[in-house]
């Protein structure tokens, strides 16, 4: 136990150097610029720019340039709706407290559904509130996601037999991520949000 810890970096295998590709001729002379600017006159400039723009657009058509950028932006700034339903709302608030600080991941609760991307259903949904929940979901602009936080939102939880409780919020709105727990700890909520970020990346939305 008392032996000095060996440096991990030294133990890891060194990254092999990438061998130069045989098809591309290596640039040997350092002073030669890659593109000759002097030959570029205005007559040649416009077609060149047009070509570059078209190739960019063609790649965008395949969703390769712009879309990943927006995907990155979308998944890194998820604004949840500031809405407390039941017990999980307290843990939801804890997740924004000093210890967990969900704002680290760019998660900032907003009060107006128009400015939100993420509906976190944090608690028991009753039939009385069901249509309000649907209204809120529909007021949120696309693209939007739903997290069912806790057992109540997932499947009714301990109240599933009750006459007034919706057994699972997925009966009302499409759910992307379910978080188990009654209530889930703030870590679980953060994990759910990170899972959602992975999901957005995989779906390439």
């Amino acid at each position: 136990m008392s032996t000095p810890a060996t440096p991990v970096v030294a133990a890891a295998p060194a990254v092999p150097a990438i061998p130069p590709s045989p098809t591309e001729p290596a640039i040997t002379e350092p002073g030669v610029p890659f593109v000759e600017i002097e030959g570029l006159r205005s007559q040649q400039f416009i077609p060149a720019a047009k070509e570059a723009l078209l190739s960019l657009l063609a790649e965008q058509g395949q969703g390769k340039v712009i879309r990943p950028v927006f995907n990155w932006a979308g998944r890194n700034s998820l604004f949840p709706l500031h809405w407390g339903l039941a017990c999980c709302a307290i843990e939801f608030a804890s997740a924004f407290g000093a210890r967990w600080d969900a704002e680290r991941f760019g998660v900032v609760p907003r009060s107006s559904p128009r400015q939100c991307d993420l509906l976190i259903v944090n608690g028991t949904v009753t039939w009385k509130v069901a249509h309000k929940l649907i209204t809120l979901y529909e007021q949120m602009p696309e693209p939007k996601w739903v997290i069912a936080m806790g057992n109540c939102a997932t499947g009714g939880g301990p109240f599933r037999t009750a006459y007034s409780v919706v057994p699972g919020v997925d009966k009302l709105v499409p759910v992307d991520v379910y978080i188990a727990g009654c209530p889930p700890r703030p870590e679980a909520l953060l994990d759910g949000i990170l899972k959602l970020e992975e999901l957005i990346r995989e779906r390439r939305e």
């Binding site: 500031h82 307290i90 608030a93 407290g97 210890r99 009753t126 301990p158 409780v165 209530p183």
Partner: protein, 378 residues
């Protein structure tokens, strides 16, 4: 003009709807609309074992779960004629007072956020987590504990807990001074909260308002003193009082209650250090100790009738006077469980302390009431 504040509104701190009739910025009439979180806990309880209901009690009031466990357990013990051992009583006082601290700190966080103070919300959540850490160490849960049992508590404190609790209490006392500096030291806070949401002592009694709201009006009623339960009659503490009956007074009462809670907890941990003993009553029937009976044994269990009885208990919950009425008609399920939620009554009087003030005053006033919708709707 009627506006709906809720069910999704930053003011509500839960799931309810305050319909407000405004004239300019002045509130002319209000109509609270409840029931968005009605989960039928009283009905489900009729279908559950006595110890299974504890699970529901935690979720009834999610900021003061253990106080509600305590409330229900007392009534159930009376209905089932079980007497818990003495150490259990002190343990229950300990967890209830810690829960009161956690609940009041949560109230503080929510209340100052209503006033627009942003940082104390974070400070409150930070300090509350320290208390929840202790709860985790001996109940395993942060919010829903299932700690109490009919006839005792589930387990004793792990070694070293009392010292850690003492340290936390010292830290919290310093933080309370900081809270006071942030709020009472601010001229804007006083301008906002003085003479706001006044509900005088006479109206408080008429409308049945209890808890810190009542004591802020100068009425000296605290069930821990007036009708001591558990081990409260053996502990020294004072009732927090104020007399201006406004939002500032409620703030002062709650801050003083937190200090008194710290005082109680210090006494209790001293007692617990020197008085080891069992934490479960000896005369608890076996089917109560193991509520999750194997399938097929229900008939066998049902034959073990306990004597009938009706239990009534009342405790001073963080929000006010809570009572439980448990009817035991034999068998393993209660016949009827009725709860009196303090916030339920405090909210029903909302018209008397909201009308005539500004729209901007609604959040601090409702914040000073400390609404917990879980226990209102049940």
């Amino acid at each position: 003009m009627w506006i709906n504040m809720g069910p999704q509104h930053p003011m509500t701190h839960g799931l309810w709807n305050l319909r407000v009739k405004i004239d300019g910025e002045i509130v002319r009439d209000i109509d609270p609309e409840m029931g968005y979180l009605h989960r039928g806990i009283e009905k489900i309880s009729e279908d559950r074992h006595y110890n299974e209901i504890i699970t529901l009690m935690d979720r009834t009031c999610y900021v003061a779960g253990i106080a509600w466990e305590h409330l229900y357990i007392q009534a159930a013990e009376k209905a089932l004629h079980v007497v818990p051992p003495e150490r259990t009583l002190y343990l229950r006082v300990l967890v209830e007072e810690m829960q009161r601290l956690a609940s009041h700190i949560m109230w503080y966080a929510a209340f100052v956020q209503d006033l627009g103070l942003m940082s104390p919300f974070l400070y409150g959540m930070r300090d509350r987590d320290l208390l929840l850490d202790h709860f985790q160490s001996f109940t395993g849960g942060r919010l829903t504990y299932e700690y109490m049992r009919v006839g005792g508590v589930r387990n004793d404190l792990p070694p070293g807990t009392t010292d850690r609790i003492r340290k936390t209490m010292d830290w919290l006392m310093d933080r309370f001074a900081e809270y006071d500096r942030l709020c009472l030291g601010s001229q804007i806070f006083r301008t906002r909260c003085d003479d706001l949401g006044v509900l005088k002592a006479k109206d408080c009694v008429t409308y049945g308002v209890t808890g810190p709201m009542l004591r802020a009006a100068g009425v000296k009623r605290d069930l821990r003193k007036d009708r001591p339960y558990a081990a409260y009659d053996r502990l020294e503490f004072d009732i927090a009082l104020a007399d201006t009956a406004d939002v500032t007074a409620r703030y002062l009462v709650r801050m003083e209650e937190m200090r008194q809670s710290v005082r109680i907890i210090r006494q209790v941990v001293d007692w617990l250090d020197h008085h080891p003993g069992p934490v479960m009553a000896a005369n608890v029937p076996r089917w109560l100790g193991a509520p999750y009976a194997p399938i097929g044994h229900e008939g066998y269990l049902l034959k073990r009738h306990y004597s009938k009885g009706v239990g009534l208990s009342a405790i001073e919950e963080p929000h006010g006077e809570a009572t439980a009425y448990v009817v035991n008609e034999g068998g393993e399920h209660p016949y009827r469980v009725k709860f009196r939620s303090p916030v339920f009554v405090n909210l029903s009087a909302a018209k008397s302390y909201l009308v005539g003030y500004h729209v901007a005053d609604i959040p601090p006033i409702m914040g000073s009431v400390d609404v917990c919708v879980g226990e209102v709707d049940r």
